[in-house]
Symmetry: C2
Subunit: 125 residues, 2 copies
């Protein structure tokens, strides 16, 4: 098991999720040791939810799981990049392909791109 | 000034630095409100160092500044992606192009890529 440094952020590290094909950054989540091990073992991106204080595998509700294709670790072992295949075509709970769908333009924010799915249908909300 | 949510991580947000041309993730830093404002005003990626507890502009020692070309904000306003032109060709203090130069292969870690510069010459160490 590849060892990471979870000490800097109270047991958590940031995990950058990047589309394996396009290189687009899809989302950022946080992992604790258990989420990291689960991700390695299952090849599905798994995080620790700070708000719910529990493990969650991306896509467990929506079906939009992230199949891990490549894992990169940074120079001081406290951040990872996961290159994934995003099932369902969208990572964001809003239905947008990427969570990073707001762009700063001349000091204000503009939504870029259109939702790939309707979150009311996917999440039943 | 575009407002971000700095509340979730004691006044800090993660900032993902991505090469504007290749899409490669070069590094991840943290920003407080002041670092964010300085980045917007100067168009040079500026972070808050957790170890030194002070602002630092990437490249202030090495000259390898990051000229910000595009800024993306995520769905809940607590993480940013900066697309940058990496002056000097390398973001990592090791001389590697990206801080993410370790790849997980069959459960162990392999260094990928060669250093672009000699850190002993750039940092005088």
């Amino acid at each position: 098991m590849t060892a990471l440094n979870f000490d800097k952020m109270d047991g958590l590290i940031p995990a950058i999720i990047q589309d394996d094909k396009s290189g687009e950054v899809l989302m950022v989540g946080f992992m604790n040791q258990e989420a990291w091990e689960t991700t390695l073992e299952s090849s599905r991106a798994t995080f620790f939810s700070r708000s719910r204080q529990s493990l969650w595998t991306k896509g467990e509700t929506s079906g939009n799981i992230q199949e891990v294709k490549e894992i990169l670790i940074d120079c001081d072992d406290d951040t990872v990049v996961l290159k994934v295949e995003q099932i369902g075509g969208a990572a964001c709970h809003t239905g947008h392909r990427s969570c990073f769908h707001k762009k700063v333009v001349n000091g204000s924010t503009r939504i870029i791109g259109e939702p790939v799915f309707d979150p009311r249908k996917v999440y039943g909300k």
